[in-house]
C-alpha cells in the first residue's frame, strides 16, 4: 500500500538515489509498554505499528539499496522502533517532518564517509565512554 503521494514518492526516490552503499532498516513491532490513544484528523484511531509499517514499506521500496526487515515482538516495549544501519533509532511513527529526517538518516547511513566535519569528528574521537543522545520530536 502506498501511503505517500506521487510527488512525495518522487521526492523521496530522488533523495535516496544518492545512497552510496546498501542500508539495512529494521522495524520492530509489538505491544506498547505504555499505550496511548492517537487520533487522526478525522477522529479515527491510529495504530502506530500499522502506520509505521506502511510508511517504511513505501519508503524502502523506493531504493534497491535499502533492505527492510520487520520483526514482531511478543513482549511489551518501545514499539514501533525503527533502526537504520548500524544503530540509528527512531521510536514512534515517522510522520511529517520526521519522515524527511528519517529519509535523510537513511542517506547518512548510506554514505561511505561520515558527513560530520573533521573538526567535530576530532572532538568526538576523544570520548572515552559511550554516550546516549535522545532527541524528542513531534510530527509537524
Amino acid at each position: 500500500m502506498n501511503v505517500l503521494g506521487e510527488r512525495e514518492r518522487e521526492a523521496v526516490a530522488s533523495v535516496l538515489a544518492s545512497l552510496e552503499q546498501d542500508v539495512s532498516v529494521m522495524l520492530e513491532l509489538g505491544p506498547a509498554a505504555a499505550p496511548v490513544t492517537l487520533l487522526a484528523a478525522g477522529g479515527g484511531e491510529i495504530d502506530p505499528g500499522d502506520q509505521t509499517r506502511a510508511i517504511l514499506e513505501d519508503v524502502c521500496s523506493l531504493s534497491e539499496r535499502i533492505n527492510l526487515e520487520v520483526v514482531e515482538r511478543d513482549e511489551p516495549g518501545p514499539w514501533p522502533r525503527t533502526t537504520i544501519g548500524p544503530g540509528l533509532r527512531y521510536l514512534g511513527m515517522p510522520l511529517g517532518y520526521e519522515l524527511t529526517t528519517l529519509v535523510h538518516g537513511i542517506v547518512e547511513a548510506g554514505r561511505r564517509e561520515p558527513s560530520l566535519t573533521a573538526a567535530s569528528r576530532g572532538r568526538l574521537g576523544a570520548l572515552e565512554r559511550d554516550v546516549a543522545i535522545d532527541v524528542y520530536v513531534t510530527p509537524t
Binding site: E98, A109, S120, I133, Y136
Partner: protein
C-alpha cells in the same frame, strides 16, 4: 535529530535515538520535555531547540562534563 544521527555515525561511542514525544509521553515527562526538539544526553535533559553542528557538539560535551 539528523545531527544526532550524524554524530552517531561519526563515533562508535555515540548512540542516537529520535523519540516521538506524544507516543512516548511517559518518557518525555520523565525527562522534563516541554518543547521540541528536546535533547537528552545520558538520560538527563540537556537543552531544547535546533542548533548548528559546532554548538550541538559543544553542548553534548558540556552535558557530559568533558
Amino acid at each position: 535529530m539528523l545531527l544526532a544521527y550524524k554524530l552517531a555515525l561519526a563515533s562508535p561511542r555515540i548512540h542516537a535515538s529520535g523519540i516521538e514525544a506524544s507516543e512516548f509521553a511517559v518518557e518525555a515527562d520523565r525527562h522534563g520535555v516541554h518543547a521540541v526538539p528536546a535533547i537528552v544526553v545520558d538520560d538527563r535533559y540537556a537543552w531544547a531547540g535546533s542548533v548548528p553542528e559546532t554548538a550541538f557538539v559543544d553542548r553534548v560535551l558540556a552535558a557530559l562534563g568533558d
